[in-house]
C-alpha cells in the first residue's frame, strides 16, 4: 500500500517536471517561463520527495529529504525573483 502511494507521488511529481519543462520551452516570454519553471519544480520536487520519504520508511532520511526540499524552495524562489527583477530593470532602463 505504502509502495503504491510512494509510486503515485513520484510519478505525479515527474508530471510536474514535464509540465515545467514544456512551459520553459514553449511559453512566450521570460516571466511566464519563470512562472512555469519555479511553480512546477517546487511542487514537482515536493511530490517527488514525499514519494521518496514514504519509500525509504526511515524517519532520519525522510527529514533530510524534507530539508533538501525546503532549501531548494528558498533558493528557487529567491533566484526566480532575482532573475525577474533583473529583467524588469533592464526593460525599464531601455
Amino acid at each position: 500500500m505504502i509502495e503504491v502511494m510512494a509510486s503515485l507521488l513520484t510519478v505525479s511529481g515527474v508530471g510536474f517536471y514535464l509540465a515545467g519543462s514544456i512551459g520553459l520551452l514553449r511559453l512566450p516570454d521570460l516571466y511566464s517561463r519563470l512562472h512555469a519553471l519555479t511553480k512546477a519544480d517546487n511542487l514537482g520536487l515536493g511530490l517527488l520527495i514525499a514519494g521518496l520519504a514514504l519509500h525509504t520508511q526511515d524517519l532520519l532520511i525522510a527529514l533530510k529529504l524534507v530539508l533538501i526540499w525546503l532549501a531548494v524552495l528558498a533558493a528557487s524562489a529567491a533566484s526566480a525573483h532575482l532573475i525577474a527583477q533583473h529583467a524588469r530593470r533592464r526593460e525599464t532602463q531601455s
Binding site: 532549501a71 528558498a74 533558493a75 529567491a78 525573483h81 532575482l82 527583477q85
Partner: protein
C-alpha cells in the same frame, strides 16, 4: 538494472551534448552557464560511479565556485570592452594565431584522451589483487580514519595533499600579484538579503559537518573549504564588503595555514623519530583532523581570494562602487 543503464546512457549523452554546446557557442556567458550545468551533471555521474567524495567536490568547486568565478570574469571582460572600444591591431595575425592555438589544444586534448584510455585499459587488465584499493582497505585500521578516501589523502599519500596545498598557496600568491580586489557588488534587495541571512549560517554549519564527517564518510577539508568559500561568495554577492575574509597578517596566516600545519606535523614527527608524516596509529585521527582544519581555512581563503580577483583592500573608508 536496465533502468540504471538507461540513466547512465542519459547521463553520458547529456554530458556530451552539454560539453559540445558549451564549446560551440560564441556567447561567453551562455558558455559559462552551460559549463555549470555540465559540472552538475558530471557530479551526478560521479555519484553513479560510487565516488561521492569526487561528486561533492565537483558540485561545490567544479560547478559552483568555478561558475561564479567564470561569470565574474565574463562580466569584467564586458565592462573592459565597453570602456575601450578600440579595435585590436594585427587583426589577421591574431586570427591566425587563434586558429593555430585552437588546433594545438585540440590535438593535445585528443592525445591526452588517448593516454587516459590506454591507462584505463591497463588498469582493467590487472588482476584485482594488485589494486591499491586492496592495500588501502588492508591498512585502514591503522590510518586513524575509517573513510578510505580520507585515509589515502591525509595519511597514505599525505605528500600529494601537502603539495596540492602548496599549489593552492602559489595560486593565492598569484592572485595577490593581480593588484587590489575588484569592487564589490551593490547591496542586495530584501529577498536576496533574507536568503543570505539564513543560507550563510547553514553553509558554515555544513562546512563544519563536512570537515568532521570526513573521517568516516564522504567529506573532508576540500569540500568543507569550498562550502565555506561559497558562504563568502553569497555574502559578497549580497553586497557585504567584509565577507569574513581577514585582511593583513591574519589573511597571510590563513593562506599558509594548510601548508604550515602539514609541515609542522611532519617535522614534529621527524623530531620524535618517526618518518616524515608517518603518524603513530594512536594519534593519527587527531593529527588528521588538525591538518584538515588548517587546510580547510587555507582552501577557503584561497577560493575567496580568487573570487575577489586580487588583494582585499583593508581601508573601510573607501566608498563602495556600484557595478
Amino acid at each position: 538494472m536496465t533502468a540504471m543503464l538507461v540513466l547512465d546512457i542519459l547521463l553520458v549523452l547529456s554530458l556530451l551534448s552539454l560539453a559540445t554546446a558549451a564549446l560551440a557557442t560564441n556567447d561567453a556567458r551562455r558558455s559559462v552557464i552551460l559549463f555549470m550545468a555540465f559540472g552538475l551533471v558530471l557530479a551526478l555521474a560521479w555519484g553513479r560511479l560510487l565516488a561521492p567524495d569526487v561528486a561533492l567536490a565537483e558540485a561545490a568547486i567544479g560547478a559552483g565556485l568555478s561558475g561564479a568565478l567564470l561569470l565574474t570574469a565574463v562580466r569584467d571582460q564586458a565592462h573592459r570592452a565597453l570602456r575601450s572600444s578600440r579595435k585590436p591591431v594585427h587583426e589577421r595575425g591574431r586570427a591566425n594565431l587563434r586558429v593555430t592555438l585552437e588546433w594545438t589544444v585540440t590535438l593535445l586534448c585528443i592525445a591526452l584522451a588517448g593516454l587516459l584510455a590506454w591507462a584505463l585499459a591497463q588498469a582493467f587488465d590487472r588482476a584485482p589483487k594488485d589494486t591499491l584499493a586492496q592495500a588501502v582497505s588492508a591498512n585502514l585500521a591503522i590510518s586513524g580514519v575509517s573513510n578510505p578516501v580520507t585515509a589515502v589523502l591525509l595519511n597514505f599519500r599525505a605528500y600529494d595533499t601537502l603539495l596540492e596545498l602548496a599549489v593552492l598557496l602559489t595560486a593565492a600568491l598569484g592572485i595577490f600579484a593581480l593588484g587590489p580586489a575588484r569592487p564589490g557588488h551593490r547591496a542586495a534587495g530584501p529577498v536576496f538579503d533574507g536568503l543570505a541571512r539564513w543560507l550563510v549560517p547553514a553553509l558554515i554549519l555544513t562546512a563544519g559537518y563536512l570537515l568532521w564527517v570526513g573521517a568516516h564518510a564522504p567529506g573532508g577539508a576540500f569540500q568543507a573549504g569550498a562550502t565555506l568559500a561559497a558562504a563568502a561568495v553569497v555574502l559578497r554577492l549580497a553586497g557585504r564588503r567584509s565577507v569574513g575574509l581577514p585582511t593583513g597578517h591574519t589573511l597571510h596566516v590563513a593562506m599558509v595555514a594548510g601548508v604550515s600545519m602539514f609541515l609542522a606535523v611532519g617535522l614534529g614527527l621527524l623530531v620524535l623519530g618517526r618518518p616524515f608524516l608517518g603518524y603513530p596509529p594512536a594519534w593519527a585521527g587527531g593529527l588528521i583532523l588538525l591538518i584538515e582544519t588548517a587546510a580547510m581555512l587555507a582552501i577557503a581563503a584561497t577560493l575567496v581570494l580568487a573570487f575577489f580577483g586580487g588583494r582585499p583592500t583593508p581601508a573601510p573608508g573607501v566608498a563602495e562602487k556600484t557595478s
